[in-house]
């Protein structure tokens, strides 16, 4: 029975996050379906509703007639307090039913700092945190998304993980569940074994025993059954043109982070920046055809009425048919008052022609990511961007009357020196100089360059996965040093909190022994750690101390090149050999050509894929 929460909704901030009833939501009769699936996004409604992956998988699952997939978001703190005060469990948006009424409860793990929200949501739903504490009467807890590539820190809380793209895997999981229920042979233990055995890409952590060396590093992962894989290879959708595409989406009434049509142009990235996890784990590159994309864009525009279409992919200007696609789109977007936007532009591809096509009236600012201040360091990270490229790109923007540029950098990168840090300030002032040298600049306005500096975090499945993160002290010194180098008031300088980055590094490279710390964090009410107002470094350190976790072991230690890594149980397609070669090249200051120029043999082509630049794998 659902309680009347109208009085509570009248007292909390933005109650539209909890009321549901959106246009486009899918309602089924719960008596008619065989499996109820709760898709949880462990952050606020505004963030979760903006996630393209959730939109796709919500559609995919609801295509299954006998499955009803609903959405769940993490209620903001004021709402949670009321819920706990009045014993209201966490409920799904569509039906308003508590999570315990569902058969499968899935979480998308988009960033490490959302782990505390996952646990908090389970707790709010009255579901025991640890997999071993949950019997057959509780829903199966499933994880997926980019952080599932190293699921170990949260392995004890999940029953199984989906490794890779979920469009085919999730329906397969549901079918197996329904089949075993109908045949009367369902038990959680049987199901987990069967899923691990028969569905590629499924990782059931409880079926693998982990042993450790005395120095704390991993000794081995041992499957407890002979018939399950010793390494879980990620799943991909081979042909993106034929991949499921949601032609209906749930339309939020309240404003969300990305309130626009999101058109996924391709998966993967040809670049291979050495700090970037997304650039590796989504390989191989698979493009969609412009004709297909144009039809999909029309379809979404008609269904949503959005006035903006964002072409989303990792490095959108690398799309081989970008011009053809934008031309096709512009044939109908202009007259329908729809603007195009392209996030993630590379400076070397930014041209006047391109800028003329994208949304220019709405924002006067452009963002580029040189990532490092000197050519030497940009070569180390394989950014393959030169200062001339950046200055040419900003010049195009200035000529078009723009006066603000935002530049993203990273501090604490491997081999970084103070010269590289100073280079950030110099690069910013060169951009200012470029403005004044530009004859057709907007003379009424002063230039404004914002430099935003984040901290390097070593991530699994990158050439820098073994690197030690800079210490807090060193990162703080560098941040201060850069601040002292910036004297021009036309340059605005912001930097990320190094403390958050350190905890993120621990969670990114952690193993199963982090579970007690996360569990304690949940007990002590940690939530929304990705939000500045909630994150408390000292409390994190305290929680780790009390559970015997040394953060430096995970964040600031150079992992051994021959060490068994906690995420070695996962095969993302790209070989460890390749990552090691890339690491060597980084230290030698050598760049690696992008996938389209030259195949460097990362190994991801073994996964197959259509409309890719990879050579066909031999086997």
């Amino acid at each position: 029975m659902n309680k009347n929460i109208s009085s509570i909704l009248k007292t909390v901030s933005k109650p539209g996050r909890y009321s549901g009833g959106e246009y486009g939501q899918i309602i089924k009769n719960k008596e008619d379906v065989k499996l109820r699936f709760a898709f949880c996004f462990p952050d606020t409604y505004e963030i979760g509703m903006s996630n393209l992956g959730v939109r796709i998988l919500y559609g995919v699952l609801n295509e299954e007639k006998d499955v009803w997939c609903e959405r769940v978001y993490d209620p903001w703190m004021d709402m949670q307090q009321k819920m706990r005060e009045h014993g209201l469990p966490l409920c799904a948006c569509e039906s308003g039913d508590p999570l315990t009424d569902f058969h499968i409860v899935a979480f998308t793990l988009q960033y490490e700092m959302s782990y505390t929200n996952v646990l908090n949501m389970l707790d709010l739903a009255g579901i025991p945190l640890r997999s071993e504490e949950r019997g057959d009467e509780f829903p199966l807890i499933v994880g997926g998304g980019p952080c599932a590539y190293n699921p170990e820190p949260v392995a004890d809380f999940f029953d199984l993980f989906n490794i890779g793209e979920g469009e085919e895997m999730l329906p397969e999981l549901c079918r197996l569940y329904i089949q075993m229920k109908e045949e009367g042979r369902y038990s959680k233990a049987e199901y987990l074994h069967e899923a691990a055995r028969t569905i590629p890409g499924i990782y059931v952590p409880s079926l693998y025993q982990v042993t450790y060396h005395e120095d704390g590093t991993v000794r081995a992962y041992t499957p407890i059954y002979d018939d399950i894989p010793t390494k879980i290879t990620k799943r991909i959708i081979k042909d993106m043109d034929r991949a499921y595409f949601p032609d209906k989406v749930v339309m939020p009434y309240i404003e969300t982070v990305h309130d626009r049509v999101m058109l996924e142009v391709f998966r993967g990235c040809i670049r291979g920046c050495r700090f970037c996890q997304a650039g590796i784990i989504y390989r191989p590159v698979r493009e969609k055809s412009p004709d297909v994309l144009n039809e999909q864009a029309k379809c979404l525009f008609e269904f949503t009425g959005y006035d903006e279409i964002s072409l989303t992919s990792l490095s959108i200007s690398d799309y081989t048919h970008l011009e053809e696609l934008t031309d096709q789109l512009l044939e109908w977007t202009d007259e329908n008052m729809v603007s195009l936007s392209l996030p993630s532009l590379r400076v070397d591809s930014f041209t006047k022609e391109l800028m003329d096509k994208i949304a220019t009236v709405r924002s006067s600012s452009l963002t580029f990511a040189p990532e490092a201040g000197t050519q030497r360091l940009r070569d180390v990270i394989n950014k393959n961007v030169r200062e001339e490229d950046l200055l040419r790109a900003v010049n195009v923007a200035f000529e078009a009357g723009k006066n603000t540029v935002k530049l993203y950098f990273m501090s604490g990168l491997p081999t970084e020196t103070y010269e590289d840090i100073a280079g950030i300030a110099e690069l910013a002032s060169h951009v200012i100089d470029a403005y004044y040298r530009c004859p057709s600049r907007n003379k009424a306005k002063k230039p404004q360059v914002t430099i935003s500096v984040s901290c390097f975090i070593p991530k699994p499945f990158t050439p820098f996965q073994w690197e030690a993160q800079d210490t807090l002290e060193s990162l703080a010194e560098k941040q201060e040093f850069l601040g002292s180098k910036i004297t021009d008031r036309k340059i605005r300088y912001t930097h990320h909190d190094a403390k958050v980055s350190r905890i993120e590094a621990v969670l990114a490279r952690g193993d199963r022994r982090l579970a007690p710390a996360l569990e304690l964090a949940c007990r002590e009410g940690f939530m929304f750690d990705a939000w500045d107002e909630c994150f408390d470094y000292d409390r994190w350190i305290s929680v780790m101390e009390r559970t015997g976790v040394d953060p430096a072991f995970y964040a600031n230690r150079q992992y051994g090149l021959d060490e068994v890594l906690p995420w070695d149980i996962i095969d993302c397609g790209v070989s460890k050999d390749f990552l090691r070669r890339e690491r060597d090249r980084a230290y030698a200051g050598n760049t690696t050509p992008n996938c389209r120029e030259h195949c460097s043999g990362c190994g991801a082509n073994k996964l197959g894929g259509e409309q890719t630049c990879c050579p066909k794998a031999k086997n």
Partner: protein
């Protein structure tokens, strides 16, 4: 496979509709009830912007740097209040009859946000002076005698309540802004029902929520478990200064 782009083809057809000499204003009367009561005025505007595009209405766009459809709403409704008597004026620049406008919009809406009527307006939103509300309160301890107590609270001046204004919080007496009030008690559902007509001009607008605030302060209601005690506010009409219905 994807459906043909029917709406875009439809839009092309609509572009050939007879062009109006001047943009014409069309008034939409709509309801906003149920879950939609939690959607703010700003979000409602955003929603209508999209709904109008989805419905392929031949709306007139402002000619400017950032073209947009002109939407003019009548007296805004606060979050947590429902209404069956809301208005939105839109402007179209091609011929389309009112019935078709309504049908097209309703295909893109849900029952909780629904167009009730569409016509060419003969009045101006500035003529709106009063709004009538039905308020239902379910709270422990309500009884027959509560009717008198509630009426007393809401009729004996002054009832001073703090109201947020642009220049900070201000104490105001809300009684002069209450034109009429009916109170009744239903023992079957243990609810008190209020019917009130409140001032609703731009300068002087009494938020019906303040009536609840006043009752909470003076009548010890809605103090218990919020999952068992509740109230609803429904705007039933808006009126001109002579209390004739605004249309």
């Amino acid at each position: 496979m994807l459906s043909q782009s029917e709406k875009l083809i439809e839009k092309k057809r609509l572009l050939n509709l007879p062009v109006l000499e001047r943009p014409m204003t069309v008034r939409l009367k709509f309801r906003k009830v149920g879950k939609l009561q939690y959607i703010s005025h700003l979000d409602l505007r955003r929603t209508f912007n999209r709904v109008i595009v989805r419905a392929c209405l031949p709306v007139w766009y402002t000619k400017g740097f950032n073209p947009h459809a002109k939407l003019v709403f009548s007296t805004p409704l606060s979050v947590g209040a429902q209404s069956v008597y809301e208005f939105l004026d839109i402007r179209i620049d091609r011929q389309m009859d009112c019935r078709e406008i309504m049908d097209r919009l309703n295909r893109e809406l849900t029952d909780e946000l629904y167009i009730l009527d569409t016509y060419l307006p003969t009045s101006d939103f500035s003529e709106i002076t009063w709004a009538s509300y039905d308020i239902e309160i379910c709270s422990k301890g309500l009884k027959e005698e509560s009717v008198g107590e509630i009426r007393r609270t809401l009729t004996e001046s002054p009832l001073l309540l703090s109201k947020k204004t642009k220049s900070g919080e201000k104490e105001i007496d809300i009684i002069p802004m209450i034109h009429s009030l009916k109170v009744s008690y239903d023992s079957m559902s243990n609810t008190v029902k209020l019917s009130a007509v409140l001032k609703a001009t731009t300068g002087e607008y009494l938020n019906p929520e303040l009536l609840i605030t006043g009752l909470k302060q003076n009548n010890q209601i809605l103090q218990g478990d919020p999952t068992e005690e509740w109230y609803t506010i429904l705007r039933t009409a808006v009126m001109k200064d002579d209390f004739s219905l605004f249309i």
